[in-house]
Subunit: 205 residues, 3 copies
């Protein structure tokens, strides 16, 4: 089941990459690369930092095929993707929930401190989007206006809190993943963002 | 012989870095760094992803000396580099041909899937330029308008097709490298680019 | 003692990250990430390139706590940081002096060539700032107008020259670190920069 969720997350990330690449009028190769780094960038950075190489997507071709197929799909149906906006948000949100907890567990396997594990989980979930924005010459969107990384951090914390209780391993995994998903969806639904540190209200693009 | 070609490619990449750094009015140190990452960036990313560390250029000083010398040369003769434009294109093209196939073979040594090997080859050839453009705050040029990565991908495919025939190893290496070079030169000569996905003709810078 | 200096450097780097993130109007999470990468980015790149993983900051929580505390401090007292400008420059300068020599020694431990060791030292000291500027969508400041990396390179050279003399190990370490610090402070004090390669005087932002 986790595996299916992982694929849904990969699809959502790849399509979000295609959409950004489109807005920058990239050529087909550029679009594919942006789709790819958005989908695997976070996990790649995590693997490199803990020294788990060759990195995950090099050892499991499923990711490559899913990203290729999603990219072709998104390019062909680019004018109709608006109808999928809600599904994509849902996939993406489920994706970051799963990626966060997978990243936390990779950190635990490498015997790292809980705070580092939470950082690795957040990175796995969020840095694909960061690399996408850098390649597209934008300030990463998650640094500016969304409860996104914050949801991952809270989900990671939940994981370590729940582990202290006599719960089944799968239960801990699922509940903390759901924490990420619920926070993110509530933030989107009610347009919640982190408190501003700036005095005025002008938005900065 | 391969080694000589490698050096020619390194020279061309370094000089292309100097030219971009110049257009951004960087200081001498900045110029050197941009020359360096353009020349070794692709191979470095490849080595990090497959876990072959310390990365190649740290273990063979020839690259460092060649890049230093090329940078000094390009800075001193910067007003005359226009006369070298054709030679530079040729060196660069030979360089990506060679880098692609070297990258493919590194992937094979790490026992990775052919598609991943082709990706590694393309990365070795192209990502030096991508990192150069990111450091110079530009959207990477290869994502936007050139048959460049596409030539590498086709060259990598040729390598795997040729391997199925009873050919000498060196012949496979050379022919697939030449495939990259010929496609790239034809694309430049006849101004071929990937088909546009956009309705209008305006160019986007 | 080295350890205390290291912490001072980390504080200065983190605060410099907060200041840049502020000028880009990032949200609290973005500010924390920029503070983090500014402080640990150079050492992380160094560790990845030589294959020393998990990278340093993942194995020693002190860095994480110091960066968290510095970020909170800088956010709370952001309107008063101007009074600290001189102290921050001093911390930052001491930090790059130390980071340079630590990087050089990591290279020596990995049995790399002196030139590569100096490059690793310079990278440790300077690339946190480079990654900070890339994430904030700026051309890295050290490529454009400051004697900064140059001070690190000269300090690294001093280390290898001093090693040829019958000096105590700690003396070599301290003197070459001081070389970095003195050059940097003199350059700031007398507004020295690398000679311009451009004909006119216009500044380029």
């Amino acid at each position: 089941m986790f595996y299916t969720i992982d694929i849904l997350g990969t699809i959502a990330f790849a399509i979000s990459g295609v959409l950004v690449a489109f807005s920058k009028r990239m050529d087909p190769f550029g679009i594919l690369i942006i789709a790819f780094v958005t989908a695997v960038g976070g996990g790649t950075l995590r693997d490199i930092l803990i020294g788990e190489t060759p990195v995950t997507w090099m050892k499991n071709m499923t990711y490559v095929y899913v990203i290729l197929a999603s990219t072709i799909f998104a390019v062909l149906f680019r004018r109709k993707l608006d109808y999928l906006r809600t599904s994509l948000l849902l996939f993406d949100t489920i994706g970051i929930g799963l990626y966060t907890i997978v990243g936390v567990e990779k950190g635990l396997n490498a015997e790292l401190h809980p705070i580092i594990c939470i950082a690795l989980g957040t990175m796995s979930a969020c840095f694909g989007g960061v690399i996408r924005d850098i390649l597209c010459n934008e300030i990463p969107v998650i640094f500016r206006k969304e409860i996104y990384a914050t949801a991952c951090i809270i989900g990671g914390l939940s994981y370590f809190i729940l582990r202290k209780f006599p719960l089944d391993y799968n239960v801990v995994f699922i509940i903390s993943g759901i924490v990420v998903i619920v926070i993110r969806l509530l933030a989107v639904r009610f347009k919640i963002s982190l408190p501003s540190l700036y005095d005025d209200d002008e938005t900065f693009n």
